[in-house]
């Protein structure tokens, strides 16, 4: 909302310097986006009289003017009579006119914002022109550049144009967001009231701004038939209209144009400008129709019907939807209620008779219509803030008077006032104690009363109790907390005494999930992996490239970007997608991981909302292959994380052998090559996640290097199983014995079978003697010529808590294991 300081000053004195005022507005009204120095834009422009005007000897279209500026402009060449020579190309320039003269050194206002053009004394076809005589367009006062702007005779030569039209002004743009709930602050009057209030000054609205305003009985005749038929009183609580006869449509007086232009509204003609002027002043949108174009003398208000359309001002034809409020001529739509008038009944140069409308449209319906058609007009902006229907009559009466004065004409009908709203004012009862308790203040009730009365609330005081009557323009005050806001803001939030809340020193509860995430993050980063964040939404193509079925993914229906079509069903594809760009960037070997959420359509939680799967995924990639399947690299990280750090006992089941895999893991596994993927299962059969390699097609589609592998884990399951801290075993005083054992197994014995045999054998052989043992695989070997076997070598550490082990007993133990191996698995000790 752009305000003009001079406009505000018509309603209240402002003595603060501009910078202090801006600070105050920011602190007590709303964020200031921009401050525009209007005075600077119009600086140095002078009213001057054209004394002589002759045709340029060397140019058909130019005139040479001698102008009288009363001698006020310095450093300009004058003739013997003190007149200044200016060349002018306008066809309408004549001797005797009062014009706006831009002397050399002055910036052309229309160029001020972009590429400032500073005038100088310049020769035009042999004649020196000292600056220029300006058109309305050059003065940024409208589109008219057919001729120069002729000023009123009330100006004197040499008088400052800027001062005469109160253009020594400042426009202050306050963020609209601040005023979402404040319909009154979309008008200068409302802003002025608030500026008085925050300075703790009493404000009084002008006399004309009252609910019961009426026209003077000025001998009008009801010569033009006008009626309103409102079929949607719930959506249009008030519709006031009046007909005015014999107006003269022309350009607005210069002062009116300057008032619109300074806050960025384009002047059009006197009638349209007046409707805009009063909207800017009161926040109440108005509309003027060409009475004769309506033809029926009827203004209807109803919901649009299927198949109807209307052409709005500017020429855009709109297909109307049901639910849109339209204005009709009793039959067909002629305007979009609350948003924009229709082109068919627009006021133009030929218009003689008009209808002025001051109506109130439902905020939500207006908002929908504006959004549907992308018509974010000034009127729509105001109606969507819930304008009060109780101000319409005051605005109409004021606008009628101004119309008569500026465009002539006479009132030709009664005020038609169709109204359907409660006229009883809102009252709120509260206490000073209630307000102080919420602001942390100790303000006496009478001070609160004063703050509210400054902005025209009525307040009855009964000791501590305030009975507040809300003025008719305030639509946002309903409950005591709204009064708290009012007092807090008018008093000034800067003055609230800060004090920390008091609470017991009981420790705050720790969030286990976040703590666990932090733990995993620390471990993976220490293992050289890089934490990434990727979008929760993915493009359909990423899902299909990684073999995911889109029917499992929640579809986003309104995403601006096609990259954000679906909620992801697992994290791995998003991470795979980050591999190729990094390889291209020169990273040869890396691991990227993310802890985030996945959502699967149809799987709900206790709240009957989509279950949020807390997942961890890691993708490891290497540009050049290393020996062995890449699977084992991802598995190495699983072991590091689950066994080494978190102490979670687990085993691996080939995914193609695992029955009854839950849906969410089947879905995640779609991006994994089944022959090289394992399900990770805790000792109680809880599924912890999956580890594997991407499918060949995912590799191909995402340009992944051959040596890529990945896992995805369930963070919640991991958290439940993770040991809280490392396990400690007392240190052994006696030396440990280490020895390798190499067994040759038939090739179809899996490593897990071999290892579990070895554990069992070690346990059986150790138990009677009380040995402690650890084992570590160090090699799996297969001779190229013997594919039927493989040799696995383990490093075995043996100790005894009470003595040193002898070579004999160790050898004996190994012999037992070897003979067991032969018996059970047909394995030879090598």
């Amino acid at each position: 909302m752009k305000m003009s300081l001079n406009w505000v000053k018509k309603f209240t004195d402002v003595h603060l310097p501009v910078n202090e005022l801006i600070e105050k507005i920011g602190a007590q009204l709303g964020a200031v986006d921009e401050v525009i120095d209007i005075g600077k834009k119009y600086e140095g422009i002078v009213a001057a009289k054209v004394v002589e005007c002759v045709k340029h000897p060397n140019a058909d279209k130019l005139s040479i003017c001698l102008i009288d500026d009363g001698g006020v402009v310095k450093d300009v060449k004058r003739n013997e009579k003190g007149l200044v020579e200016v060349v002018c190309g306008a066809p309408n320039v004549k001797a005797g006119q009062m014009v706006a003269w831009l002397p050399p050194g002055v910036t052309v206002p229309s160029t001020f914002d972009k590429d400032p053009f500073v005038l100088e004394a310049r020769e035009l076809r042999g004649v020196v022109s000292n600056g220029m005589i300006a058109s309305a367009r050059e003065l940024a006062l409208g589109d008219d550049h057919e001729g120069i702007l002729v000023l009123g005779d009330n100006l004197k030569p040499g008088e400052s144009f800027t001062k005469a039209y109160e253009l020594d002004d400042v426009a202050i743009d306050i963020e609209n967001k601040m005023f979402t709930h404040r319909p009154d602050l979309f008008g200068m009057l409302g802003i002025a009231r608030e500026i008085a209030g925050i300075q703790h000054k009493l404000f009084k609205s002008p006399d004309w701004y009252r609910e019961d305003a009426d026209l003077n009985n000025d001998g009008r005749k009801n010569v033009l038939k006008l009626s309103v038929s409102n079929e949607v009183p719930g959506l249009v609580p008030r519709f006031c209209a009046i007909a005015i006869k014999d107006v003269k449509i022309e350009d607005s007086p210069v002062w009116l144009r300057t008032y619109l232009a300074r806050i960025g509204v384009r002047p059009i003609n006197n009638i349209v400008d007046l409707t805009n002027y009063f909207m800017l002043e009161t926040a109440q949108p108005l509309h003027a129709y060409d009475y004769d174009k309506i033809k029926t003398g009827v203004l209807g208000v109803r919901e649009a019907r299927e198949g109807e359309q209307v052409t709005v001002i500017g020429g855009k034809t709109i297909k109307l939807k049901k639910g849109t409020i339209v204005i009709t001529d009793g039959q067909k739509p002629i305007g979009l209620g609350g948003v924009m008038g229709g082109a068919d009944t627009e006021v133009d140069k030929q218009t003689k008779n008009i209808v002025l409308e001051v109506a109130t449209f439902d905020m939500n319906t207006t908002r929908r219509t504006a959004m549907e058609h992308g018509l974010f007009t000034d009127a729509a902006t105001r109606f969507t803030k819930n304008q009060s229907p109780r101000q319409n009559r005051a605005v109409l009466v004021k606008a009628v008077a101004a119309t008569k004065k500026i465009a002539g004409g006479r009132v030709a009908s009664e005020i038609v006032d169709d109204k359907h709203f409660k006229t009883t004012p809102v009252t709120v009862k509260t206490t000073a104690e209630f307000i102080n308790a919420r602001l942390g203040l100790d303000l006496p009730a009478r001070e609160m009363k004063q703050l509210l009365e400054n902005v025209e609330f009525k307040v009855e005081l009964d000791r501590d109790t305030l009975r507040v009557t809300v003025p008719f323009w305030r639509m946002d005050i309903e409950i005591a907390e709204d009064i708290v806001e009012e007092i807090g803001r008018l008093y000034g939030y800067d003055h609230l005494p800060p004090a920390l809340p008091q609470r017991s020193i009981a420790p705050a509860e720790v969030n286990e999930e976040l703590a666990f995430k932090a733990r995993v993050r620390a471990e993976l980063s220490a293992a050289g992996a890089n934490e990434v964040l990727t979008y929760s939404f993915v493009h359909e193509s990423l899902l299909s490239k990684t073999g995911q079925d889109i029917k499992n993914a929640y579809h986003i229906r309104n995403a601006l970007s096609p990259d954000l079509q679906y909620y992801r069903v697992s994290l791995t594809p998003s991470l795979l997608d980050k591999v190729h760009p990094n390889i291209k960037n020169g990273f040869d070997s890396f691991g990227v991981y993310e802890m985030n959420k996945a959502h699967i359509k149809g799987i709900l939680d206790d709240e009957k909302l989509p279950k949020e799967f807390n997942r961890l995924s890691l993708v490891l990639a290497r540009k050049k292959p290393a020996p062995g399947a890449p699977f084992y690299r991802a598995k190495r990280y699983i072991e590091y994380l689950l066994s080494h750090n978190l102490g979670i006992a687990h085993s691996y089941i080939p995914v193609d052998e695992s029955d009854g895999l839950p849906k969410e893991w089947q879905i995640a596994a779609a991006a994994y090559e089944p022959k090289r993927t394992a399900v990770i299962v805790a000792s109680d059969k809880t599924i912890l996640g999956i580890v594997g390699e991407p499918t060949p097609s995912a590799k191909n589609n995402l340009k992944l290097p051959a040596y890529t592998s990945q896992f995805e884990l369930d963070m919640d399951a991991m958290k439940l199983k993770a040991r809280p801290h490392p396990m400690y075993l007392p240190l052994n005083k006696y030396p440990e014995t280490t020895q390798d054992i190499c067994l040759r197994f038939p090739a179809d014995i899996s490593y897990a079978q071999a290892e579990s045999f070895l554990f069992k054998a070690l346990e059986n052989a150790s138990k009677p003697h009380g040995y402690q043992y650890w084992l570590k695989p160090i090699d799996i070997f297969q001779k190229p010529e013997d594919k039927a076997h493989k040799q696995i070598t383990w490093h075995i550490i043996l100790t005894h808590p009470e003595r040193t082990l002898t070579t004999e007993e160790v050898n004996k133990l190994f012999d037992i294991i070897a003979s067991d191996a032969k018996k059970e698995l047909k394995a030879e000790r090598i």
Partner: protein, 343 residues
């Protein structure tokens, strides 16, 4: 495939030979032999002769393209492996990446920092959801049905009408409901809610559709706006490790009344003006206010007995300001050039 035209056939043989030999299979499509055929095509007299020649050249090109495509397909046959083994047959055990290469995401590290301060102040953390319903996102927060205030939140919606939360306030109702028992036992509700939020906006260097927010809620008997101001001051001064000046700007949120925006003197230039604060010396950092009585009521808390405050702010911006990060899109880029600077 045999070609009738001897010139094309000769080229086909030569190109297939090249295909066998070369490592860059695509190079056959750029080979001069193929280009020569197209050059020749232009010199063949128009009519049946040209049509026939053209057809054969195109057939050859398609055959070559197919060969290139098939070569690009990885060998479909993936050999099974023993997934229970710690490493592969005849291969060494893979090693972990060097610790020095590892890194934590700067947003996550900063969130930890921030949560750490709030935990010291007695706040518990609850993570926000990434998919929610209209009730939690709007209705429970005192957004009337169809209210224009909803326009400020350009929300992503699913076909089912579920919402990708545009603010962490989507958790407020849950936090308040869960804390009601505590209130009755004389304990305040003191919670912070970090989480990922979404706005349906176009991406540029300053706008992300996905970002992180932290929400805070404090409810007890006798809580007032002075407590709100002091709490946020205490946090911000702890976060920046220095004393700061503050300004307050009225704001509008449906879920707080009154609503404020807190502005602090730029901690990077002591308010003198620098690139971080766009040379104004002040930074708008978070929105806050006293919790609207309707929001408390909706959670079953009597607003005449208990009052509270809430606030919310973006994490991304804090991190961008701290490190002078020029483009918000780096955060979700997965670019190691960016990420490894935070190791």
């Amino acid at each position: 495939m045999k070609y009738e035209d001897p010139q094309i056939n000769a080229a086909a043989v030569a190109l297939k030979k090249l295909f066998e030999k070369t490592d860059d299979k695509r190079s056959v499509l750029r080979a001069p032999e193929l280009a020569a055929l197209y050059d020749h095509l232009r010199t063949v007299p128009a009519g049946e002769q040209r049509a026939k020649f053209g057809k054969e050249v195109n057939q050859l090109k398609q055959e070559l393209e197919k060969m290139v495509r098939e070569a690009a397909q990885p060998k479909a046959e993936v050999s099974p492996i023993d997934v229970t083994a710690p490493f592969d047959i005849n291969a060494p055990a893979p090693s972990l990446l060097p610790t020095t290469k590892g890194s934590k995401h700067p947003l996550m590290s900063e969130l930890d920092n921030i949560l750490n301060i709030f935990e010291r102040m007695g706040f518990s953390a609850i993570e926000s959801r990434q998919i929610d319903d209209d009730y939690h996102m709007f209705t429970s927060l005192n957004f009337p049905e169809d209210h224009p205030a909803r326009d400020d939140y350009d929300t992503f919606m699913t076909d089912e009408g579920l919402i990708a939360p545009a603010h962490t306030s989507t958790m407020q109702n849950r936090v308040l409901k869960a804390g009601k028992k505590d209130l009755e036992n004389g304990k305040p509700i003191a919670a912070v809610i970090p989480g990922r939020v979404f706005r349906n906006e176009d991406l540029d260097a300053r706008h992300e559709h996905t970002f992180y927010q932290l929400e805070g809620v404090y409810v007890d008997k006798g809580i007032n706006a002075g407590h709100l101001i002091a709490t946020l001051k205490a946090f911000l001064e702890a976060y920046y490790g220095k004393s700061l000046r503050f300004k307050f700007q009225p704001y509008y949120f449906p879920f707080t009344e009154p609503s404020l925006e807190i502005i602090l003197s730029c901690p990077f230039c002591e308010g003198k003006g620098c690139s971080v604060c766009s040379h104004v010396g002040w930074i708008e950092i978070l929105g806050c206010g006293m919790i609207h009585p309707n929001v408390l009521k909706e959670a079953g808390i009597d607003p005449n007995v208990y009052t509270g405050f809430a606030w919310g702010g973006g994490i991304d911006r804090l991190v961008m300001m701290k490190y002078n990060i020029e483009d918000v899109r780096h955060f979700e880029s997965g670019n190691l050039k960016f990420l490894r600077q935070f190791s």
